[in-house]
């Protein structure tokens, strides 16, 4: 007995392929960050496109109570001032011995008014304090309270140009990351100078670190030195990590 099928195998395949194609196409109107010619990273680009297409606007990550603050491991570079340690920087060591009074955050690139901000100047921006969950790609989580200047306000203060699309972060320990403007202007994306009601500890990125609450921990760059706004994706090669880690 042969039944007439509403969905044939061929139709199903065509529908599936065109759905995925459609998802990819929406992203193709704007140039996507590269996959480094790496087939592995194609899934990450699909994740990036799908999340930007399907997730509703700038939703806030869950915020917690003071009593929820948990123990918080410090991993990656934990002290760039210590000679011989990974991520050692002589410049950082000097700034550290001067209690960071000479430290400045340079905001440059596609901005109308490039500027070097002191910590005091950054603290003049309306501060945002948030108790959020840090999700490390290793698999662990921790809850901490962060205080800082919303990145969006700082970028506007520097006069970010309309053509800008990416914000690149350079750290003293030679670490580099970039995010798109969607994440850069997320209300919870802040340049944090305070943690758990005190100044930012060295092991957590003093004097200033980035917090991107909608992504995995390694996007929240510690020991910030320089922010460069660009029109194009800055390809520094495959770091071994996927560029987009909203999942």
């Amino acid at each position: 007995m042969k039944k007439k099928k509403l969905i044939t195998r061929r139709n199903a395949i065509i529908t599936g392929v065109s759905t995925i194609g459609g998802l990819l196409l929406t992203g193709c109107s704007k140039k996507l960050p590269p996959t480094y010619g790496n087939i592995l990273r194609m899934g990450d680009v699909l994740t990036y496109t799908a999340q930007r297409t399907l997730l509703p606007g700038q939703s806030l990550a869950r915020e917690y109570q003071l009593s929820d603050i948990s123990s918080f491991p410090a991993t990656g570079t934990t002290n760039p001032a210590a000679p011989g340690q990974p991520g050692y920087s002589q410049t950082y060591g000097q700034l550290h011995s001067g209690a960071f009074s000479d430290w400045r955050l340079s905001v440059e690139g596609r901005v109308a008014r490039p500027k070097k901000y002191s910590l005091a100047e950054l603290q003049q921006f309306p501060a945002r304090t948030q108790i959020t969950r840090h999700t490390c790609e290793e698999g662990w989580t921790a809850i901490g309270q962060w205080t800082g200047a919303p990145l969006g306000l700082v970028l506007q203060n520097a006069g970010i140009l309309p053509s800008a699309r990416f914000v690149n972060f350079y750290a003293y320990d030679d670490y580099m990351e970039s995010i798109d403007l969607f994440d850069a202007f997320h209300p919870q994306t802040i340049l944090a100078y305070g943690m758990n009601g005190s100044g930012l500890p060295i092991s957590h990125g003093a004097p200033l670190r980035l917090r991107v609450e909608t992504q995995i921990g390694y996007k929240s760059v510690k020991y910030l030195q320089r922010i460069v706004v660009t029109d194009e994706f800055v390809n520094t090669g495959d770091s071994g990590w996927s560029w987009y880690v909203g999942i």
């Binding site: 969905i7 948990s70 123990s71 991993t75």
Partner: protein, 235 residues
Amino acid sequence: MKCSHWIVTASFLALSVTGVVILMAHPRLYWGEVGNDLTPALFELPISRNYHHGGWEQSTPFFQRAGSPVTASRTYDIFNQNGWGRSLHFLAAWFLVGTGLVYLLAGLFSGHFRNHLLPEAREFSRRLFWRDLVNHVRMRIPKAGKGPQYGLLQKCTYLVVIFFLLPLMVLTGMTMSPAITAAYPFLLKMFFGAQSARTIHFFAFVALLLFLLVHVVMVIRSGFKNQMRFMTWGK
């Protein structure tokens, strides 16, 4: 329908391997929102050199009070292959989700679920269920015919895998994503937190792995050659 089976098989195997690789970077499981090396774990799996590594500097409390949460710097060079592990995991997950959606729609509209998977009222009694279970345990497996004429236990197992375990895998997986839980916070409530979701994700994986083992044994016992031909070509 037939090729979806093998796409899902390949995705599942890739997801299993990379899932274990990801778990090896932090082989501790927790309950609730928070879990890390400085907080107590539900249990820890001895599956990499990171097991009980203890490579932490002396901890510093955040607050001046007894029982304050602490921070400590890690001194141990952990095993971590998540760079490719995570990317391959999510690539395979896309294949699984894409194929799964096509399969669900096709199964719904073609009558596959209704005709082959839903147990009929008359076959669904405790006595018949028990008899089928005993037969399976005693390895009295009938040779399969041509086509999906599934047994009662088989139907129930497939229903649990398709409509419970696999969706549970996808949802608990998404609950570990900061961007997705920001958009859909109910996921965190539903699974009691990000770390609980990770733990449930692990146990659902164990259940699926057991299913795969039994499934393969059954395919072999019920006539391997015929079954493989049917699973691949449908005739």
